[in-house]
Structures are given as structure tokens and as C-alpha cells.
């Protein structure tokens, strides 16, 4: 039966993350963006919230069950605090969730139990490629089976935390044209991590390019074993995560713009008393709510195990444009002040611009 109410567990999770975002993340995110570095204690506390272990079943050392809807709710709260810090804290999920969804028993037994430990596992994933023609379903990075090993060649970009990763899940195209995932130890010969990337937004998140030259991994390192994975499912889960994060960024901008508009006096009264401003804020609120419903619907389809590619594509189209409209609108409401880095709306606009590009940077 149609219902849009969070259950008790989701409410508690969303509140706990919301508190962390408001009390810890919002104190440091601006400086983190300027410095390109996130304070270690915030990252540690964020990890201790236990969002990823709560998606992992008990038999693999976690304490919960996986749900894309719950993940989307959590991501929105998290990203409301700051997108870069969220993506840093959740980076190991880029390996955990695909393994949970599609990994072999051996892969689950190896990679999932460390998630219940105090230390954040040093895991990340590489999907995006530095090309205008980037297409996750037809990657230029290739994986060829040779003597019981896969040999990978190609170039990747926007790989978060690659410098300190122990294992990187690299997506590549197999000879049959399908996208598959391969678990590469960081020190695989031929795998080079490039310089830290300089991005328009997400400046607090260290991301790197990778070069793969004849990187050999045992066939057992292929995600899902011989049969491989249905990449559509992984991609859709990832799109839900990023779209949910986009809703969080949009909500942050909208709240800030509303507060500002109620305080900023022009011509003798708050600018929010004027319909030209108030209507912008109303449209933004409707946009954000609509986007959240689209995200939840796709997440719900995924949780039901139903086909979701069409929904995910349509949702992504809506959300990518929504988050730009809203964050741009927030800068506009603040006028000249919105352009100054004293206010966070310019940061949110820079981060928002990435959503159309940032494939595979989060997954729930």
C-alpha cells in the first residue's frame, strides 16, 4: 500500500546522521573545502556511526540488512552536512555494497567482516574514465582472460582515496562487451595511481586518476566469480545513492536561502516578503520533494528486485537538473553575497554541478 512515512529505524538513523551532520560536519566542511583536507576526528566519528555495517547482515559481521530505500534516506541526511565528507566516509561501501549484492561467498567472507572493525577498511572503486565518451556500459578499460588471470588495461578517473587504498574495485569491459568488476590489490604491477585531481567541487575529497597497464589478477578476483555481475543493478544502486545525496545538497541550499531571505532586509522588509523571492523558494521546495520521491521510487524498485533501469535514468535526469536549479537559485537569492565564499551556497553550487558527472562515487 502506497505510503511515504519512514519506519522507526529509518527515522532514528536519519536523525542520528542529521545530528552528526549538523554538529560535526557543518563545523568543518567550509575549511575542509578550502584546505582540501578533512579533519581526521570527523572522519573517524563519521565511520563510527556504522552506516555501512548496518547494511551488512550478521553472518558477515554486520548488524543489519541491506535496503536501498534506507540507504537513500541516510545519504540525504549525510550529504546535507557535506558531500565531500560523506563520500570520504562511505568510500569503502563502493566495494562492500557491490560484494553484498553480487559477490561470491568467498568474496563476502573476505571483504565484509572487516567492516565491523574500528578501522575504516581501505577500499575504493574505479568506474569513471576521463573521456567525453565515457559510458559506464561500454568502458574503454578492458579485461581479457588469459591463463586463469584477467589482464586489465585502461585509464580511470575520480577514484576517491585511491592513494591509501589496499584494494580497488576496477570496472572494465570484458571481451563479450559486458561491464564487470575486478578486485585489484593496490600494489598490482602495472597499476599506477596518479596525482591528486583538481576538481571544481568536492575539493575536500582526495580523488585520483589510475593507469592500468597489463595488470594481472587471478580470475577469482572477478566480482561475482565466473558468472560475473549484472552491472545494471550496481549502476542503478549507485545512481540512487548519488541522487539521494543530491537531494541532501539541494535541501541544504534551500534551507540556507530561506533563512537568509527572512533576515535580509531590503526596502524596509525581509526580501522573503516579496513574491519574486518567495515563489522561487516555493518552487525549490516542490522540486526537492519531487526529486526525493523519484529517488525513493527507484530505490524501492531495487529493494523489490524489480527492473529499475528506466526509472533510474529518468530519475537521474530529473535530479541532476533539480540540484543545479536549486543550488543556483540559492546563490541567486543571496545575490552578491551568494557569490562570496563567506556563505556556503557557492560551495553547494560547485558540488551540485558534479552530479551529472559523478558516476560510481557512492552506492547504497
Amino acid at each position: 500500500m502506497i505510503d511515504f512515512e519512514l519506519d522507526e529505524e529509518q527515522k532514528m538513523l536519519s536523525e542520528a546522521i542529521g545530528r552528526f551532520a549538523a554538529e560535526r560536519v557543518r563545523r568543518v566542511y567550509r575549511e575542509a573545502d578550502e584546505e582540501g583536507q578533512i579533519p581526521a576526528d570527523v572522519l573517524r566519528s563519521g565511520w563510527e556511526l556504522g552506516l555501512l555495517p548496518s547494511s551488512i547482515p550478521e553472518e558477515y559481521g554486520g548488524f543489519g540488512a541491506h535496503s536501498a530505500v534506507t540507504g537513500a534516506i541516510a545519504l540525504e541526511s549525510f550529504a546535507w552536512g557535506d558531500l565531500a565528507i560523506t563520500l570520504d566516509i562511505l568510500a569503502p561501501g563502493l566495494v562492500a555494497i557491490p560484494i553484498l549484492l553480487a559477490g561470491t561467498e568467498a568474496q563476502k567472507a573476505t571483504y565484509l567482516p572487516p567492516f565491523s572493525q574500528e578501522e575504516k577498511p581501505r577500499l575504493t572503486a574505479a568506474l569513471t574514465e576521463p573521456s567525453i565518451h565515457y559510458d559506464p556500459r561500454h568502458l574503454k578499460t578492458t579485461a581479457a582472460l588469459r591463463d586463469g588471470h584477467y589482464v586489465l588495461n585502461g585509464v580511470k578517473s575520480m577514484v576517491p582515496l585511491a592513494d591509501e587504498a589496499e584494494t580497488i574495485l576496477v570496472y572494465a569491459q570484458e571481451s563479450d562487451g559486458r561491464t564487470q568488476g575486478f578486485l585489484l590489490p593496490r600494489h598490482t604491477p602495472g597499476l599506477t595511481v596518479g596525482e591528486r585531481e583538481k576538481l571544481m567541487g568536492l575539493r575536500a575529497l582526495p580523488t585520483f586518476g589510475l593507469t592500468l597497464t597489463d595488470c594481472r589478477v587471478p580470475a577469482a578476483n572477478k566480482l561475482g566469480g565466473d558468472a560475473g555481475i549484472d552491472f545494471e543493478v550496481i549502476l542503478n544502486h549507485s545512481r540512487v545513492a548519488l541522487a539521494a545525496a543530491a537531494v541532501g545538497v539541494a535541501r541544504a541550499s534551500h534551507e540556507y536561502a530561506m533563512r537568509y531571505a527572512k533576515e535580509r532586509i531590503a526596502f524596509g522588509e525581509p526580501i522573503a516578503h516579496r513574491q519574486s523571492i518567495a515563489f522561487m523558494l516555493a518552487e525549490m521546495a516542490i522540486d526537492i520533494d519531487a526529486a526525493r520521491l523519484l529517488v525513493w521510487e527507484t530505490a524501492w524498485l531495487l529493494d523489490q528486485g524489480r527492473p529499475a533501469t528506466q526509472n533510474a535514468t529518468v530519475m537521474k535526469q530529473y535530479v541532476d537538473e533539480m540540484v543545479l536549479r536549486v543550488t543556483d537559485g540559492a546563490v541567486q537569492v543571496l545575490g552578491g553575497h551568494g557569490y562570496i565564499r563567506e556563505h556556503p551556497v557557492e560551495l553547494w553550487l560547485r558540488n551540485a554541478r558534479g552530479f551529472a558527472t559523478l558516476d560510481g562515487l557512492a552506492i547504497v
Binding site: 511515504f4 518567495a278 516555493a282
Partner: protein, 417 residues
């Protein structure tokens, strides 16, 4: 718990509505658009027996239940209504508006009428020939600003009758209700011109009441199958108990706008219904455009990367995205009501967005189909004309944005005019 599952009993009913839409409404869509003041009897005759029997069973159930509290759990009524209206509007929005039922007038009686009034005015919808109910609020000088209503009801103490004088316009199904069936119109009038909103009261005006006349049948941009009239009240006399709710004009501030708030309360249900109608028209245009383009070999591949989308594919995906957004906002507003939750803000959100979206999608469909879109041989241009009303009635987009803005900013109408 978050769910997008539509209950099976609703999906079954939707199958029937789809058949009516395809086999009864669509074949006559063009005809009733061209012959504006004729009535879509094929549709009315199919719907009336079904609705009549449903109403009859409902009245019987209500009578036997007496004052027992309603059963636990969600109330499907509004969700069912929203989904049926979407499907019927996908068929033909103008014909759908001629559905023989008590409509908004009935909703007002259900909301504030006494048991005796409900019996007297609503029972007729469970028996006999097709009937219509209607609501008359708008006046030449009072559109969205309903507190400016000038129609006056004066109590004649000698005969204990209300005497109505004034003029109402844009009354949907007004002629069907007053002249073409034994229906009624709920008319909003003031009992005290100086009391503002506190003086505004709803009155039930029966069909064929002396002093009530249809002054004009409107000719419209779209939804031409729907009957829209102006009504003039010239010393129209109503029995005393045709007033709905209390006749008192309370000047205590909190309670003084109760009558008016009663009217506003019905919008919480009617706005999602109008939004649903808009989304039904939008889906008709979207489905048709997609089918026609597919015949030309243009089909959206949802797995293609964005940089390879053609302009047409991009438009289609954007239409689909906006359609989904409008529809989900509508379902949310209805879903909240089904679960017994407050939905004032969400009702205005869905209405503001759905009206605009349907207008945009149908215009885009006309554009994408080129000369075919502009031709009256096809229905696309009609859907574009039909869609526009949803951006206007039950509160224009602007009025609904105003409600949304005040709500999110925590402003009263004094702070945000």
C-alpha cells in the same frame, strides 16, 4: 513504511476504467470537443449504473453502521479516486468532468452537513436517473479571492427562508445539476457583507428552484465536453435548513473563519484530484507521442549515455521525468490523506506542479509531432487545450505557490501578500 505498491483492488478497478477510457471516451473525444454543448451520453450511461449502485451500497452501509467509528487502517477512498480520475482523464478530461456524481457539492455536504441533510441531498445519487452535484463559488469579482464574494443570503424571518441574490460564474456541471437532472448546486454566499470570511456560508440550491437561472453557457479553450455556466440568483428562496453548518457569524477571531476554512478544507482533497486529472492528460500526450515516434523508428534507449541522446530523446526523457515528478507529488498528497495525515502543503505542491507540468508536456507533444501535432485530425492539440485548465481551477498555480511559500516560510497572509 515507504512503499509504492498500489493495492490490488485499485489496480483491478483501474483496468475497468482503462476499458471505459479506450472504448467509450476516446472514440467520442473529437466529437464532443467540436460540438461543445452536447452531453457525452455514451460515457454518462456507462458510468451512472456503476456509480449509482456503489453509492447505494455505501448509503446502506452508512445507515447500518450508524455512528460506529470507522474501521482501522488506511482509507483507500482518496487514493482510489485520484487513480481513477487519472485514468479517466487519460481517456478524455472533458468527458470525465461530466461524470454523474455529487462532485464538489457532495464533498461539502459530506464534510459539514447533518445526517438529515446528507440523507435528503445525497440519497438521490443511489437511485433513478443520472444526477449531478456542483459547487458555485467564483463570481465576476471574486476568483481566487473568495473572501470578496458578493452573493447575499438574507433570512426572511416571516417565512423562515433564505433569499439568495447574486451571480456565480465558472460553475462546472451547473447546467447538468440545475436544469438537466434532479441535482443541486452548493452555493457560497454571505449572510453578512461586513463580516468578511466569517459571513461566508454554503447553501444547497436544488434543481429547478424558482429565481435561479442559467445566464450563460461558457465557450472554452478546452474541456469543451464539460458544462461550465454562469448562474443568476434573483430572490431565489431556499428552506431554512438548506444552509450547511451553523448560520452564526462568529466574530471571535480564531473561530470567525470557520465557514471559510470549511471551504478550504475541501481543497485538501480536491487539489490532488485536479492534479491527477492533469497528469492523466499529460500521460495521454506522452504515451501517444512515444508511440508515434516509435513508428518512425525513434525510441528512447534508457541505457544510452547522455552525450548520445538526440534532442528528441532528451525531450522525451525530460517529459517522462517531469510527468513522474508531478504524479508522485500527487500520490503523496493523496497518500497522506489516506493515512489520516495533514496534507494542506502537499496538496498545494502537487497542484501547483501538476498543472504546470501537464501544460508543458502537452505543448511539447504538439511540438514534437510537428504538423501532426497541430492538426485537429489527432487529439494532441486537444490535450494541450484541455490540460491548461488544470493550471487554473482549484486555485491557479500562483495561488498554490503562495500557499506553499507561506507554509514553508511560516508566514501569514499579512507578511506574504
Amino acid at each position: 513504511m515507504i512503499s509504492f505498491e498500489i493495492p490490488e483492488r485499485i489496480t483491478n478497478e483501474l483496468q475497468l476504467a482503462k476499458m471505459v477510457a479506450e472504448q467509450v471516451m476516446r472514440p467520442k473525444s473529437r466529437y464532443y470537443d467540436e460540438y461543445e454543448h452536447e452531453r457525452p451520453w455514451e460515457y454518462i450511461n456507462v458510468m451512472w449504473p456503476v456509480l449509482r449502485d456503489q453509492n447505494k451500497r455505501r448509503f446502506e452501509r452508512q445507515a447500518s453502521n450508524g455512528s460506529r467509528p470507522q474501521r482501522e487502517g488506511p482509507d483507500y477512498t482518496i487514493l482510489r479516486l485520484v487513480m481513477l480520475v487519472e485514468q479517466l482523464s487519460w481517456g478524455d478530461a472533458g468527458q470525465y468532468l461530466c461524470t454523474p456524481d455529487a462532485a464538489l457539492g457532495g464533498a461539502a455536504i459530506e464534510a459539514v452537513g447533518t445526517t438529515d441533510q446528507k440523507n435528503r441531498f445525497l440519497k438521490r445519487f443511489g437511485e433513478g436517473e443520472p444526477k449531478w452535484g456542483a459547487m458555485a463559488m467564483t463570481e465576476p469579482g471574486a476568483g481566487s479571492d473568495t473572501s470578496a464574494i458578493r452573493t447575499v443570503a438574507t433570512l426572511d424571518e416571516k417565512t423562515n427562508e433564505w433569499v439568495l441574490n447574486g451571480e456565480k460564474i465558472f460553475c462546472t456541471s451547473g447546467s447538468l445539476a440545475l436544469e438537466e437532472s434532479d441535482g443541486f448546486v452548493v452555493v457560497w454566499a454571505t449572510v453578512d457583507r461586513h463580516a468578511g470570511r466569517a459571513g461566508m456560508k454554503p447553501f444547497v440550491v436544488e434543481a429547478k428552484t424558482p429565481g435561479v437561472s442559467i445566464a450563460k453557457k461558457e465557450e472554452k479553450l478546452g474541456i469543451r465536453a464539460s458544462d461550465t455556466v454562469a448562474i443568476v440568483f434573483n430572490d431565489a428562496r431556499l428552506p431554512y435548513d438548506h444552509i450547511l453548518g451553523s448560520p452564526e457569524v462568529q466574530q471571535v477571531d480564531a473561530a470567525s473563519t470557520k465557514g471559510f476554512k470549511g471551504a478550504m478544507r475541501t481543497f485538501d482533497a480536491s487539489r490532488p484530484v485536479v492534479a491527477a486529472s492533469a497528469m492523466g492528460i499529460a500521460r495521454a500526450a506522452l504515451d501517444f507521442t512515444r508511440e508515434r515516434l516509435a513508428e518512425e523508428g525513434i525510441k528512447v534507449d534508457y541505457t544510452k549515455p547522455r552525450f548520445t541522446w538526440t534532442a528528441v530523446e532528451r525531450d522525451l526523457i525530460e517529459m517522462e521525468a517531469r510527468h513522474k515528478a508531478g504524479w508522485l507529488l500527487t500520490l503523496r498528497a493523496a497518500g497522506l490523506m489516506a493515512h489520516g495525515k495533514e496534507n494542506r502543503l502537499e496538496a498545494s505542491m502537487c497542484k501547483a506542479r501538476a498543472g504546470e507540468t501537464a501544460t508543458w508536456i502537452t505543448q511539447k507533444a504538439v511540438e514534437l509531432l510537428g504538423p501532426l501535432g497541430y492538426s485537429r485530425e489527432l487529439l494532441v492539440e486537444k490535450w494541450m487545450r484541455d490540460a491548461k485548465i488544470n493550471d487554473i481551477y482549484e486555485g491557479t498555480k500562483q495561488i498554490n505557490l503562495l500557499i506553499v511559500a507561506r507554509s514553508i516560510l511560516g508566514y501569514t497572509r499579512h507578511e506574504l501578500k
